[in-house]
């Protein structure tokens, strides 16, 4: 409809549409509203980079166990410094062969604060940022690859595969590590099968990929139903259902350390090729004429996005909406150019899931599953965005 740059410049440029909207009692179309004026003069694409930093600090002290912000920061900085010194000391000890003692900062806080910050909140906050940022980044890339703004990272079946993998893991062992590895492996395999099916046709257009994705996704959701059907209704079935709704409540430091490298690596790949996604998004034939090796590019985007999505999903469960809605918000703020859209999506995705996760852990005494909240918040928000004119696609 309209592009993402100046919201107000376009008012009145579409006479046909405005005539329909300009009902006598609707006056807001006349001039520039206050918030539009403000938004125009804030460098939006720079300010959003501060958002995740602020939310990161906020999420560390905010919770059902409320902490003093200054104290939290002190624990975070001095605690990390002490941990580093401790590591350095033991490293030096092993290297030199005898005990080395390094000075460390005095710990002015209790063990419970230490635990809350480092063992409970920090891994969870980092996980929320990794998962949210990763899903949004993968979603934005897929929307470019498939030239369709309604595409989410699940389009090639990764979520369906991961869901079945997790259910199988819960049925077979119940060990969280097994569940995660199964979810990751089946998520990746589902996409591999999708790609394999699409390769049967020599003309491997992206439409065939989408169709293959639908085939594979429905296959895995049937298998998931089977897994639920045979599961113990008092024990494993609730575990499966809860996993499918998504949650970060059980995330530990080891989980974060395990999934951070693949998510960051995949994101880095997508970040590096971000400008070239523009070429794919104008059409495969045109991209080829512009000198792009479209086949290799397609494979690169699918592999990187799938690794990111599968790694995210395996610690968080199924978290919908982030990969679909956040790229749209990004497009409204910075425009459709993937050079800016990719980093903006990552930042907004990280911030969005951080907010949602804060709500999930504080709103009620028991945790609210993430998937429920992302949809509850995301759906009305998306509907609101669509009523604004700056949609960012046609």
């Amino acid at each position: 409809m309209t592009c993402g740059k100046e919201p107000t410049a376009e008012t009145g440029q579409e006479p046909g549409k405005n005539a329909m909207l300009d009902l006598p009692w609707v006056t807001s179309h006349g001039g520039m509203s206050a918030h539009e004026t403000v938004i125009r003069f804030i460098p939006v694409n720079k300010v959003i980079y501060l958002l995740p930093v602020a939310l990161f600090i906020f999420s560390l002290f905010f919770g059902r166990y409320m902490m003093d912000p200054a104290e939290t920061l002190r624990i975070l900085i001095i605690g990390s410094a002490n941990a580093l010194l401790d590591d350095a000391a033991s490293l030096l000890s092993t290297l030199s062969g005898h005990q080395v003692l390094l000075p460390f900062f005095e710990q002015t806080w209790g063990a419970s604060e230490q635990t809350v910050v480092f063992r409970i909140r920090l891994p969870r906050v980092i996980a929320a940022m990794l998962v949210g940022g990763g899903l949004a980044l993968a979603g934005a890339s897929f929307q470019g690859l498939f030239r369709n703004p309604l595409v989410s990272p699940d389009i090639l079946g990764v979520a369906a595969g991961a869901g079945f993998g997790a259910a199988l893991g819960i049925l077979l062992s119940g060990n969280p590590w097994v569940v995660q590895i199964f979810a990751f492996a089946f998520g990746i395999s589902a996409v591999a099968v999708t790609y394999g099916i699409s390769r049967i046709y020599r003309n491997s257009s992206t439409l065939v990929l989408v169709l293959a994705g639908i085939i594979v996704a429905s296959l895995f959701s049937a298998l998931l139903s089977l897994a639920k059907y045979v599961a113990d209704p008092y024990d494993t079935l609730p575990a499966i259902v809860f996993w499918l709704m998504g949650s970060l409540s059980a995330v530990s430091n080891t989980d974060v350390i395990a999934v951070a490298p693949p998510i960051l690596l995949g994101s880095l790949c997508l970040f590096l090729i971000r400008w070239r996604i523009n070429l794919l998004s104008v059409g495969e034939e045109e991209a080829q004429a512009l000198g792009l090796d479209t086949k290799r590019m397609t494979v690169a985007i699918i592999v990187a996005s799938t690794i990111v999505t599968a790694s995210a999903v395996c610690i968080s469960g199924i978290v919908g909406w982030v990969g679909l809605v956040v790229p749209h918000i990004g497009r409204m703020l910075v425009g459709p150019d993937f050079k800016k859209l990719i980093p903006a999506s990552a930042i907004l995705g990280a911030s969005f899931l951080l907010i949602v996760d804060d709500i999930a852990r504080t709103l009620t005494a028991t945790e609210i599953p993430l998937g429920i909240l992302t949809a509850l918040i995301g759906a009305p928000f998306f509907a609101y965005l669509l009523t604004q004119k700056k949609v960012g696609w046609t």
Partner: protein, 267 residues
């Protein structure tokens, strides 16, 4: 010679030939118009020149190199391609869109730099559409978006420009604008190959015209020799009148109505 097509033939399924034994060449500053009815293989031929499709027999050479041995970005540095229509999904600004033409000059893991922006601006200025720079392609008229696509192809700095029916969906004024632009670019030394449905274009800009019919070039050469009653009758199955119009100072080619009651060609 910038473009050299020799004995080219192509088939999608290996049985029915889309075209065969097609040969022509194109030098600096020359314009070749390719005529032929719908579905006769003009677009397929263009895809073969761009190496999107691979010839079954024969060869395509650009500046003396066979396209089959070139990487996509190497070809894109030599050949600019302007498709018939662009279906915009995301509302890129014209500047973002034209910058994409710099892709073959930009390393894979990189983004456009100052120089690329400069070249894009140059491409806008060259065909006189700098005022469209910030406009979204999704809000453009057919004529505007056609000019922006030409600018994108120019940003590639090609020695050969290929246009697939550049005026098919444009109004009369925009048609002439595009034709005039093509003429100017040819004068600057770019070789131009365009497929078209208007034989008149041959008289306006072309140094040579070729007619593709049933997969073969039935005629090839200067417009005056190729655009004849007989050739067009064979290619399109309609009666035409080809004659000189004093006011236009050139030859024209107009179809004679099948009913025969009007436009009998007495000028």
């Amino acid at each position: 010679m910038i473009l050299n097509v020799k004995c080219a033939s192509f088939s999608y399924d290996g049985v029915t030939k889309q075209f065969e034994d097609v040969s022509f060449s194109l030098g600096r500053g020359e314009v070749l118009s390719l005529l032929g009815r719908n579905g006769t293989g003009k677009s397929t031929l263009i895809k073969c020149i761009l190496n999107v499709l691979t010839l079954q027999n024969g060869k395509v050479e650009i500046n003396g190199r066979r396209v089959t041995g070139m990487r996509p970005d190497e070809i894109a540095r030599e050949v600019g391609y302007v498709p018939q229509v662009h279906h915009a999904v995301f509302p890129f600004t014209a500047l973002d869109f034209v910058l994409m033409g710099r892709a073959p000059h930009i390393p894979t893991f990189s983004v456009p730099d100052e120089e690329d922006y400069g070249k894009a601006e140059e491409a806008f200025a060259r065909i006189g559409i700098s005022h469209l720079r910030e406009k979204c392609i999704s809000e453009m008229s057919g004529g505007e978006s056609q000019m922006v696509m030409i600018a994108r192809a120019l940003a590639q700095e090609p020695s050969l420009l290929i246009l697939d029916e550049p005026t098919s969906h444009l109004d009369l004024g925009n048609q002439m604008k595009v034709i005039a632009t093509i003429d100017r670019l040819a004068a600057d030394g770019i070789a131009i190959l365009m497929s078209t449905h208007f034989p008149d274009h041959g008289f306006m800009v072309s140094h040579s015209v070729a007619i593709l019919q049933d997969g073969r070039l039935i005629a090839q050469g200067p417009a005056e020799d190729v655009i004849t009653k007989e050739n067009l009758q064979e290619a399109y199955g309609v009666d035409v009148c080809v004659c000189y119009v004093k006011e236009a100072e050139r030859m024209v080619c107009i179809p004679i109505s099948p009913c025969g009651c009007r436009g009998r060609g007495e000028v």
